[in-house]
Symmetry: C4
Subunit: 347 residues, 4 copies
Amino acid sequence: MKDIKFSTEARKAEHIEICLNEKVTGDQITTGFERYRFKHLALPEVDFSEISTVTEFLRKRLKGPFLVSSMTGGTETAHGINSRLASVAERRGWAIGVGSVRAALENPDLAYSFQIRKSAPSVPIIANLGAVQFNYGIGADHCRRAVDLLEADGLVLHLNSLQEIFQTEGNMNFKDLLVKIEKVCRSLEVPVGVKEVGWGIDGVTARRLQDAGVSFIDVAGAGGTSWSQVEKHRSKDPMKKRAAEAFRDWGNPTAECIREVHEYVEKVVIIASGGIQNGHEAAKAMALGADLVGFGRTLLKAATESEEQLDLRFEQVEYEFRAAMFGIGAGTLQALKNTDRLVAVRA
Amino acid sequence: MKDIKFSTEARKAEHIEICLNEKVTGDQITTGFERYRFKHLALPEVDFSEISTVTEFLRKRLKGPFLVSSMTGGTETAHGINSRLASVAERRGWAIGVGSVRAALENPDLAYSFQIRKSAPSVPIIANLGAVQFNYGIGADHCRRAVDLLEADGLVLHLNSLQEIFQTEGNMNFKDLLVKIEKVCRSLEVPVGVKEVGWGIDGVTARRLQDAGVSFIDVAGAGGTSWSQVEKHRSKDPMKKRAAEAFRDWGNPTAECIREVHEYVEKVVIIASGGIQNGHEAAKAMALGADLVGFGRTLLKAATESEEQLDLRFEQVEYEFRAAMFGIGAGTLQALKNTDRLVAVRA
Amino acid sequence: MKDIKFSTEARKAEHIEICLNEKVTGDQITTGFERYRFKHLALPEVDFSEISTVTEFLRKRLKGPFLVSSMTGGTETAHGINSRLASVAERRGWAIGVGSVRAALENPDLAYSFQIRKSAPSVPIIANLGAVQFNYGIGADHCRRAVDLLEADGLVLHLNSLQEIFQTEGNMNFKDLLVKIEKVCRSLEVPVGVKEVGWGIDGVTARRLQDAGVSFIDVAGAGGTSWSQVEKHRSKDPMKKRAAEAFRDWGNPTAECIREVHEYVEKVVIIASGGIQNGHEAAKAMALGADLVGFGRTLLKAATESEEQLDLRFEQVEYEFRAAMFGIGAGTLQALKNTDRLVAVRA
Amino acid sequence: MKDIKFSTEARKAEHIEICLNEKVTGDQITTGFERYRFKHLALPEVDFSEISTVTEFLRKRLKGPFLVSSMTGGTETAHGINSRLASVAERRGWAIGVGSVRAALENPDLAYSFQIRKSAPSVPIIANLGAVQFNYGIGADHCRRAVDLLEADGLVLHLNSLQEIFQTEGNMNFKDLLVKIEKVCRSLEVPVGVKEVGWGIDGVTARRLQDAGVSFIDVAGAGGTSWSQVEKHRSKDPMKKRAAEAFRDWGNPTAECIREVHEYVEKVVIIASGGIQNGHEAAKAMALGADLVGFGRTLLKAATESEEQLDLRFEQVEYEFRAAMFGIGAGTLQALKNTDRLVAVRA
Ligand SMILES: Cc1cc2nc3c(=O)[nH]c(=O)nc-3n(C[C@H](O)[C@H](O)[C@H](O)COP(=O)(O)O)c2cc1C
Ligand SMILES: Cc1cc2nc3c(=O)[nH]c(=O)nc-3n(C[C@H](O)[C@H](O)[C@H](O)COP(=O)(O)O)c2cc1C
Ligand SMILES: Cc1cc2nc3c(=O)[nH]c(=O)nc-3n(C[C@H](O)[C@H](O)[C@H](O)COP(=O)(O)O)c2cc1C
Ligand SMILES: Cc1cc2nc3c(=O)[nH]c(=O)nc-3n(C[C@H](O)[C@H](O)[C@H](O)COP(=O)(O)O)c2cc1C
């Protein structure tokens, strides 16, 4: 049991390390945002300073429709990252997720590294667990404990099939997960969501998740961080290392996921994430049907540096987002979501 | 007040400097002219020396349908540029615009740098002001003064929303401008036009401007000078500097603007500009629906050098323009505008 | 007669040499697999370890739908390659072909280099002859002898028109081959198949081959090894050398061949080959309609090194293949072949 | 008059020089052959050695449907080039054209450089004149003299509008040429054709030429030698030099021209030329509708070297051409022209 715990910690540290220093994006696959462009409105008839981006998530108010994607925890470095992310999320009114809380369930000594409620008293915090764990001894009780540990406003379950099979320690049995997800949705007190980790959730799957009682879906599509690439860098098994390479172009582009999911679900909050690089792309994501936009790896570097850097990064995203709204004359999120000014680029 | 004046002058000088020496074009965006090609007519049945390009603008005769786009004024260097542009425009029969006259309204000492009537006694001169200024104290009277100062034949109001928000000194309230534009159109003695500065005017907006009484529309589309890129180079604010970068592909391609505006308006003179590089592209612009073609930054270098260089540049544009007409057998501007020999390139 | 034998041996050695060390792929032609992508299924509901890939070919059981493409024989080096390929094919349950057996028919001393039954007692072995030889003295009896010599489970006849004309020793008369193929199909005791060598078999031709009684078709399409390129490297005739260059983009892309052949035939086993690089592409081939997938040149390097290297290569292909199945939630070959999750990539 | 003669000679020498040593192809324009590919026929049922390519042109027999495009004359170097081209054309049974004979009409001393009948007694020889000369003093009598001087089997009139306007000495009046071409067609004893020089003839123009009595049309399309590029290198006028640059992508792609002309005319012999690089492309040209295929600049280097080099080049083209026919199972030119195996490449 010690070994497992140790390996989980080591893995988390390696993930950060690799995501900061290696090429972890895919190849010959893009988010698809480059296939859309906003049609500029020369006469916006809007006062930039009055543009409103406030919204709500998990019954809390957000200053903008933004989310720090689930990333880390379980180590001292991760604690630092989470703290900085939390403080800045609080200050700027973003929702925030943390990495898989399994490490803390296994080893309570690690819980502190996920506990950011003090730094982020007012914004939504989301706990995170791998759905596949439901086939490996984790159940609704653990979920509840994870939420409680973090004083979280919701729980997101991640689906990461291909990551599991390319990592040495992978849990490869994904059978019957939907019914187990359904059970957790029913028994938990807080809203439960589902996310991918960079290969995307398609429309049909989103529909099935909605029917299972999921409250929000984070598409976490392809075009950004590719977890076969990340695990390729980590792997000591030469066969898996090379095999991972053949999946560098795998996945459903983020923009396509948003469109599809938006078409297939009605009641579920749609979070766009996966390779979103700036507020301009975030605005495209909203115009394609998203309710919130998540940022992962692109925040990582600033999050290891300082709150100042991180604040600047958040501010930049917000400014770009509002600039895009201004550019098409959208004064509110509703106007952005209903715009007819996002057009497909002639190929 | 001094400071504002001073900063306006400094800004103008920096704009010239940056446009001459930095990469100020966008990325992953083009004018769209490359998507069209003229279908060569092997047997043109035209005498090249008889090709006619004469036309009329603002009730004056032009030797060709060409315009020097609004660019500068307010400094000694600008004065030199404007003088050279004016002399050559006069000699070759082009219309000519100058940069925003606001500096001269604020500080009469700077008026001389815009006053080019002596160098260009017979061709149309166009005064220029930012439409957003109507929300910052400028009104019809200032417009009239601007026209009078320059002995101009018309006034063009520029729309530059995204430039304003990426520059430190930006005026960001674009509310209710249309009614104010309408008022100016009604009260001025000379024709009033509207232009963008490189992100383009779409069909619907053009229609609304026509309905407001505008006499001419300069689409100033994307694919050439990008003002977010220019302001990126100028900015001292690191956040805005980086944010501007995310808009390097923003805007409506010039060729698309022309087609759209041509479709949406009837009574308004259409000026094509934005990244037009030579007379061949100018001819495409006309075949797409333009009445006149404007050239901005591509004239700048020659305009800082000498009248000879500038004259050569104008002559080259004219020759290319007539060569394209010859290549499709169009002996008159009317024939060029009605040609069915501009075809979309198979992607 | 000696010379001919000698030249055949020399040719075979050169082929190996060139395929290992020169650029032998085409130019401006691809397999077409890049035009398809699997739509990721975030919730596969499959246990990776239970994925089944067993199948049958030539009445024998295979652990996966994989085939070592016909490659070599006739020299000592070839013998080593064939032995290693055979041992690993046996161990991992792949079918295996050898290169053209003509050399052994001409010179019985060379037969040993093709005889791999001892190393591969239980998997299907396929003998190989050029169909064009039916116009140069080879007949059904020779075919039978080839099968017997190898204790093979089937015979495949290759079609290689353009290779023949670019190689100095080429047999260029391809007349009336279909009726001769038909005769061989009727008179042989084992199933007879037909394959190309890298330019592909189209739907109409496949249909005609089915009607002639062929049991399996290996499309051997374009995008991988190009035999005009190989012969270009070998040729001493400067004219043919240069002429071969003009065919570097010739051929029917493998993915297209599979689709077409799948549409045109019903009873015939379809083998996909030609430039297939990994198990991910192999899975695409199956989803497009193939029953088996062949690998040629990409196995060659490992086959000259060691059984260990080769085994690793086979294992990698299998793992990638199962990973792709897992990624779309296909637990069986049947599910993979019937999937609707292979989608055309937006161009 | 001396000067003109001299300048004509000098020009011809420069053309050769530039075509041999400079980049004279266009930019962002291609012949369009890359947009088509032959669908390989794995079972051609043809004997390569029996493939027949014989045809007829200007009432003479050709061994293959090939033509040496009009290129040169008027200088000693040109004489050497023409002699070598003629000898090899005779030996291999190709038709042959020479450059504009105007120089010889102006100065009989230069006639020898065009007179190749001795070297090419049996194949069709085509005299050449610029159609625009009909507006500059040349008439039917000169045409007759040109044909007589060369003992030619036909005359081709070239259309080169854009070349004329980019060269210093250009004749720019292209008025009323069609009626004059018609007159020449009526009054000459030999068949008269029309050609472009690298910008292509479209369908409508071809139809008008057919109606005017033209016997053959050489499309001479874009994608190969660009005469604005050639004249750019020659020009001493800096304005024209730069202006020429803007036409580097001008013209109708050769493949498009063939298709269009084939659609618009019935009685006229269609010659494909313009950037055709090898026999593979020549076969595509035939499948698109051409009756003959012309080669220009790609022969030039070998033509300045030796008959051996030139012969090798011709042989290579023929071999590639027959290889393409073999590859699709076409045993005759008729089969090639009627093939349904030339397919558009998916973009
Ligand atoms: C360092 C790192 C660690 C991550 N860890 C988790 C995790 O524990 N749980 C999870 O659901 N997603 C995890 N993710 C995935 C992200 O939440 C996100 O879905 C993915 O990275 C795609 O977004 P991006 O391209 O903006 O990075 C992680 C991402 C990164 C970069
Ligand atoms: C140095 C410079 C200064 C400019 N200043 C003004 C201005 O004051 N007012 C205005 O309406 N447009 C201004 N413009 C925009 C141009 O009029 C034109 O719309 C734009 O540059 C796109 O055309 P181009 O790509 O040919 O440069 C300026 C452009 C340049 C290059
Ligand atoms: C070295 C080598 C030798 C080959 N020899 C033969 C042969 O004798 N008979 C045959 O039918 N195909 C032969 N082939 C063709 C292969 O079977 C296969 O169809 C072709 O190489 C395309 O597959 P690939 O791209 O995976 O290599 C040979 C291929 C290679 C690389
Ligand atoms: C050096 C050279 C000289 C040429 N001179 C003539 C000429 O005198 N008359 C003519 O009709 N075409 C002339 N051409 C044009 C060719 O006949 C042909 O139409 C053109 O070059 C396009 O074919 P290519 O791309 O194969 O060179 C010349 C071409 C070259 C390369």
